[in-house]
């Protein structure tokens, strides 16, 4: 299996996302003690309070759009406007993410698929990547085509 074609070096938030042959995913943390899964790796499990470590697991490859808003007044580093929303993940968690526009724009309640996309400029002017959920079936959904980094 070849290396993932998604550049995950310059992430908006360290350890937010990952990629494998099946495409992009959000990094979840599975508690070694009770098995509860959280968004990201936490130093303490919110459910059982164990600090016995978390295993990184892929979550949020797909989801359902809970709500979205077209943001016109944007913080520094972002291009206006962008669509942002909450996505309910199959793992029972809800993630804030950018949402596709145009043909990739899902309806509220619609199925979405995760992509990695340039989201904002960092302090040094480089583009940083983050999660972008697009309408399922609207684009080359599912696995990212190899060698076609966004």
């Amino acid at each position: 299996m070849s290396a993932p074609a998604i550049d995950l070096v310059d992430q908006i938030w360290p350890g937010l996302m990952g990629a494998d042959a099946a495409g992009a995913y959000l990094v979840g943390g599975r508690c070694a003690s009770c098995g509860a899964v959280s968004l990201g790796l936490r130093d303490v499990c919110a459910r059982c309070w164990s600090s016995g470590g978390m295993e990184a697991v892929p979550i949020g490859r797909t989801g359902r759009l809970y709500s979205a808003t077209l943001v016109h007044q944007v913080p520094e580093g972002f291009d206006a406007p962008f669509l942002a929303g909450y996505v309910d993940l199959p793992e029972g968690l809800r993630a804030f993410a950018h949402i596709g526009l145009g043909a990739a724009r899902p309806a509220i309640g619609g199925d979405v698929v995760l992509q990695v996309a340039p989201i904002r400029k960092g302090k040094d002017g480089r583009m940083l990547s983050g999660p972008l959920y697009v309408a399922a079936g609207a684009t080359s959904s599912g696995p990212q085509p190899e060698g076609d980094a966004p």
Binding site: W13, S67, H72, Q73, I108, R120
Partner: protein, 377 residues
């Protein structure tokens, strides 16, 4: 909870504005002096001061009060995001109610910059570009999706706020606006437009609270604090109903139960309308109507002066602007005037029961929500 009865005996307010030429300490002192004079109080009457702010630095309350030559009193600095001011009033109420002291000041003040509020805390949602208006817009869009709510229902709240503000000489933005002007103002985070978002402002507010015993001994008067609830939603990253403000519901339940009252008993409300969508959803959270039905309240003008339960006669945050720490305290100033029958031009005739609601935090409910009930005799 068995508490001594507590009354608000003095209130004071500065204008809310840019105040580029004033220090925040100076603003706070102006509000303190106004509240002390309003209640006919001596500085030796005051035993404690609770001071709310977000961004004004260490021992803010002490910096304010030492220039006014207060004696050696207990000073507590309170931070609870935009609900800090209400939390300070609530803490002062509890301190007096539990007998720690007889008379206390609650002060809120803030000096604000421009633009979107930049939170100090690192948070992945903020890093991804989430803003306060976006958070409320997400809740609003979900409400539209579930209940067929129209953007106009939100926008009408801004029209009402300005209509009330036109009657309040203390409000900052006193020009009335039409529904079209609100809806056609610059989009911020859809469906929210510029006129549906509160502006930053600087200013201060102060109230003096005293035990009922002390008030009677002095032959003074005051409006009574009946009850107060404070709640936070902790598991705010779990999927839950964003259209149902859980912290507002929880705080309201504590306040209603504590006073033996329900939403139908309330005559006048000041609530946290940082964004129109917030006010709209708080109607449902406070139980003014059933879930999904706030549109009816708006369209029937039930929360407008003359309606069943007028909301934000001061003009609210939308027409006053939002000096974070001061906002919650200023609600108590307005409601005290309402219960005294002294809210000239915007008085709810015969108002007996008042409700103050404020909400703060970096996410929708990741901060704190405070609901307090007040009454006149």
């Amino acid at each position: 909870m068995n508490l001594r009865p507590v009354r608000i005996v003095g209130v004071g307010l500065t204008s809310f504005d840019k105040h580029d030429d004033r220090s925040v300490e100076s603003l706070a002192r102006e509000a303190v002096i106004a509240a002390m004079r309003d209640g006919g109080l001596e500085r030796t009457d005051i035993q404690a001061a609770y001071t709310a702010h977000l961004y004004q630095g260490e021992v803010f309350g002490q910096r304010v009060l030492r220039e006014l030559a207060f004696p050696e009193i207990m000073v507590i600095n309170v931070e609870n995001a935009c609900a800090g001011g209400s939390t300070a009033v609530r803490d002062a109420w509890l301190a007096i109610g539990t007998g720690q002291c007889d008379v206390a000041l609650a002060i809120g003040a803030e000096k604000m910059g421009r633009g979107l509020i930049s939170f100090v805390s690192a948070d992945v949602e903020l890093a991804l570009g989430s803003t306060a208006p976006a958070q409320y817009a997400l809740a609003g869009n979900r409400h539209m999706h579930e209940f067929g709510t129209s953007p106009e229902a939100f926008a009408r709240i801004a029209v009402k706020s300005r209509a009330h503000a036109a009657r309040n000489p203390n409000a900052r933005f006193r020009d009335t606006v039409s529904l079209e002007e609100v809806m056609q103002s610059r989009p911020i985070a859809e469906p929210l437009t510029l006129l549906q978002c509160c502006r930053n402002g600087s200013g201060a507010a102060a109230v003096v609270l005293a035990s009922d015993d002390w008030v009677r001994r002095r032959g003074a008067a005051g409006v009574r604090i009946l009850s107060s609830g404070l709640a936070s939603i902790m598991a705010d990253k779990e999927p839950r109903d964003l259209t149902s403000f859980g912290a507002t519901r929880a705080a309201a339940r504590i306040a209603y139960d504590g006073a033996g009252l329900g939403p139908e008993d309330v005559d006048v409300i000041e609530l946290h309308d940082a964004f129109t969508v917030g006010e709209f959803l708080h109607y449902e959270g406070l139980g003014l109507c059933a879930k999904g039905e706030a549109t009816r309240l708006v369209m029937d003008e039930e929360t407008t002066l003359g309606g069943r339960t007028p909301v934000n006669l001061s003009g609210g945050l939308l027409a006053k602007s939002h000096p974070l720490g001061a906002t919650g305290v200023a609600q108590f100033v307005e409601l005290t005037w309402q219960l005294r029958g002294a809210a000239t031009g915007r008085q709810v005739e015969g108002a007996r029961i008042a409700l103050a609601h404020s909400q703060g935090g970096t996410g929708l409910e990741a901060g704190a929500t405070c609901v307090t009930l007040l009454a006149r005799d």
